[in-house]
Structure formats: structure tokens, C-alpha cells
Amino acid sequence: MTKDLTFLVIMGIAVMLLMIVSILLAVIFNQRKKSQHRTAMEKLREQQQNQLIEAAVRSEETERHRIAETLHDEVGAILSSAKLHLLGIKSEVLDEKDKKLHEKGRELLNEVIQKVRGISHNLHSNILKEFGLNEAIRHFVKKLTQETIINATTNLDDNYKTSNADDDISLYRIVQELINNILKYAHASEMLISSSFQNQVLDLVIFHNGDGLTQEQFEELRYQKEGLGLKNIQNRIILLKGTILFTSGTEGYRINIHVPVKTAQHE
């Protein structure tokens, strides 16, 4: 009887402890499985989000090209034809008043042709494709300096060579959007666009002495409807798997774009 009782107690304790250990192991295993599943789901969600962003960015780019081509080939051609027709009018036979009107018409037409060409070039990424990111940025900044009172300079690292044309388009659009924002809102008189390329990482810095954005403002504005440009910037940054940082100092505002450069996928 005593032996049976002691055996029962020992076995009882052993079975209970074994049960607790088994349950604990089952819970640990289950939790690990859930965690793996969640990680996989998050990865999938991120992948889907990136695909959506990529599709949006690509379609935007395609649309830009379409509009640029239409402007250049159709509107540009009609405007050139209109100019030819206008030039065909013999100004000697016109009286003084009509001569002035003819002259003014010609000036306005030239201006429109220039504008349309400018918009078309802005929308199109021909320079980017032919001469690379650095040259496209230099060209864009040079054009700005001619049109505005801002003193913009570039100091770009020529060690950077295009390896992925699509990524370069995204980078170029980011720079374009940021510079346009600086021109519109910052009231800056000085601007410097510089870059450095090291260990397959491209660091682009836009510095200006106007009223810029802080990181908090950027985070806040990019979710607002009016902040469409900022949202586009963020989307492209996500697509490039890079980071963007807005900082300010005593001398001015700085925007740092940090992008790991991928090797070419398709040319």
C-alpha cells in the first residue's frame, strides 16, 4: 500500500511536469510558427506595396513621355507651321499699326515655341538617357539659373555611372521636384546640388539658404492631398530603397538623399 502510494505520487509529479513541459513546447512552437507567418505576410505586403508604387511611378513616367511627345511632335509642329505662315506675311505692305501687331505676334509665337520645347524637355528624360544623371541635373540647374534670380551651382561626383536607367529617372524626378519646391516656397538666393558616390551608395545633397522643410514637416505634409509632390518623392524613395533626410542649420537647409545603387537589370 505504501509503495503503491509513493509510486503514485512520484508518477503523478512526473506526469504533471511532463505535461507542463509539453504544453510549453507546444506554445513556443505555435508562437514561432505564427511569427514566421506574420513575417512572411509583412514581406508579401511590402512587396505588393512596392509593386503598386512601381506601377504608379512607371505609368506616371509613361504619361510624361506621351505628353512630352505630343507637345513636341504635334503642338510644336503646329506652332512652327504657324510661325512659318506668320513669317510669310510681307511686313513691307503693312501699315505701321499692323507692322507692330505682326512683330508682337511673332515674338509671342517664339516665346510659346520656346516654352513648349522647355516643357517637353522637362517631361522627357532624353538627356538623362543619353548623357546620364549628372548631366541631366546640371542641364536642369543651368536652365533654372537662366530663368530665375537664384544662384544655383552643382558639384556632382562623376564617378557615378548610370547602372539602372529607371532608378536614374526616379532620382532625377526627385531632384526636379525638390528644386521646384525650393524655387516655389523657399525664397532662396543660393543653392548647391552636390553628390558623392562610394561603396555602391549615392549620396545627393541639396543645400539652400531659404526657408526649407524640417523632417517633421515633410512627414506631415507627405500625407496631405496638397503635398502630392512630396508623396511622389517618398514613393520614389521607397522604390529606390533609399532614405531622405531634411535638416536645418545656421547656414541654411539641407536635403540628404541616400540611395544604394543597384546593378543593371535591363537597359
Binding site: 509513493t6 504533471m16 510549453l24
Partner: protein
């Protein structure tokens, strides 16, 4: 109970569910101290058989009731939306059964033996609480790391304690009658499991501090 004490004193802002455990540690420390003092000094202080403080068994009974009530409250405060009504009803059921037991069958202040029925019932109910805690962790959608789950270390320590102690409590009066030496030896298993519970409580409070 001295093991978790420094971590409990150090932590000022505790989440609500840890407050019953803090209370338990402090009360258990006093009760265990009382148990040891009575056991050690009953003879030097001249207590005789029949004196109230000659036996410390009633302190085991009090400890059991307080442990169940405070740990039940701890499980209720964890706010796991699972068997919520059962969890709330169990302490009342325990008190009812304990009252019936002590009114009709046993003496709460028995000089010779603590109530093994009371302690076994307490262990069974606490085991149920621990099992439902683990079941909830398995079925819930969140996948937070186990060690970061509120109260995980306390429940794990308690699971081992009640699993190791249930059969000891259940048969202890029979064991003392049949084989006193084995009964004394097997009580060490209970003591080791209790130390493990204290370590787990200390870990939980330490993690909370971090």
C-alpha cells in the same frame, strides 16, 4: 520570497496586473517568516502541545487561500478575452468549497496537519488558470514573442509549482501516516518548485524594470 523582493521594491510604476503579485510576495514573505519562526522557536519559547502557536499548519491554510485569491485576481487582470466568466467565478467557488470543507469535514486550525484538500483544490484551480493562459496564447492572433507576453514568467513558474505540488498536496496526509520519511523528502520537491516560482516572479519583475 526574498528572491523577487528587491525587484519588486525597485519597481515603482507597475502595470495593474502585477499588483496582486506584489501583494502576494509581501504577504507570503510574512506568512513564511511566521511559519519558520513558529517551527523553530515553539519549544525555546515554551509553547506546549495544545497551545495555539504550537502548530504552524493554519498558516499553510491561510497562505493557500491568499495565494489562490491573489493569483486569480492576477489572471483576471491580464484581460485575456478567454473564459472570462469562469475565471471570475472560480475564486468564489473555491471559497464556497473551502467553507463547506472547514464547516463540515476539517478543522482550519488543525494542530497536526494542514488541509491537503484545500491545498490540492487550490493547486488544481491554479493549474486550470495556467492552462487557459497557454491556450489563449495559442489561439490569439497576435504573435508577440512569448517572453514579452504579460505575466509569462510568472505563469510559467506557477505552472511548474502547481504541477509539482498537486500530487504532494493531494496525498500528503496519507503519506505522513504511511511513510513519514518519504513525506519529508518529497516536500523538498515542493520547496524546489516554490523557489523556481520565486525566481520566475523575480525575472518577470526584472523584465518589467528593463
Amino acid at each position: 520570497m526574498l528572491i523577487p523582493l528587491p525587484f519588486i521594491i525597485k519597481n515603482k510604476s507597475l502595470p495593474k496586473y502585477l499588483k496582486p503579485i506584489k501583494a502576494y510576495v509581501l504577504i507570503a514573505l510574512i506568512i513564511n517568516l511566521g511559519t519558520t519562526v513558529i517551527w523553530k522557536y515553539k519549544e525555546p519559547w515554551g509553547f506546549k502541545e495544545g497551545d495555539f502557536l504550537w502548530s504552524n499548519n493554519f498558516l499553510y491554510n491561510i497562505h493557500s487561500v491568499i495565494r489562490l485569491l491573489l493569483f486569480s485576481y492576477f489572471f483576471i487582470l491580464l484581460e485575456q478575452r478567454f473564459m472570462h466568466r469562469v475565471k471570475k467565478a472560480l475564486p468564489f467557488l473555491f471559497l464556497l468549497l473551502a467553507a463547506v470543507n472547514f464547516i463540515f469535514f476539517e478543522n482550519f486550525f488543525d494542530r497536526w496537519m494542514f488541509s491537503n484538500r484545500l491545498l490540492a483544490m487550490e493547486a488544481a484551480i491554479l493549474l486550470f488558470y495556467c492552462l487557459q493562459y497557454y491556450i489563449y496564447l495559442t489561439i490569439e492572433d497576435r504573435s508577440t514573442a512569448l517572453v514579452k507576453q504579460p505575466g509569462f514568467w510568472i505563469v510559467t513558474g506557477l505552472s511548474f509549482f502547481v504541477a509539482a505540488s498537486f500530487f504532494i498536496f493531494l496525498f500528503y496526509s496519507y503519506l505522513t501516516a504511511e511513510d513519514l520519511k518519504f513525506a519529508v523528502d518529497i516536500w523538498d520537491v515542493h520547496n524546489i518548485a516554490y523557489v523556481l516560482l520565486c525566481i520566475c516572479i523575480a525575472i518577470n519583475f526584472k523584465k518589467q524594470n528593463d
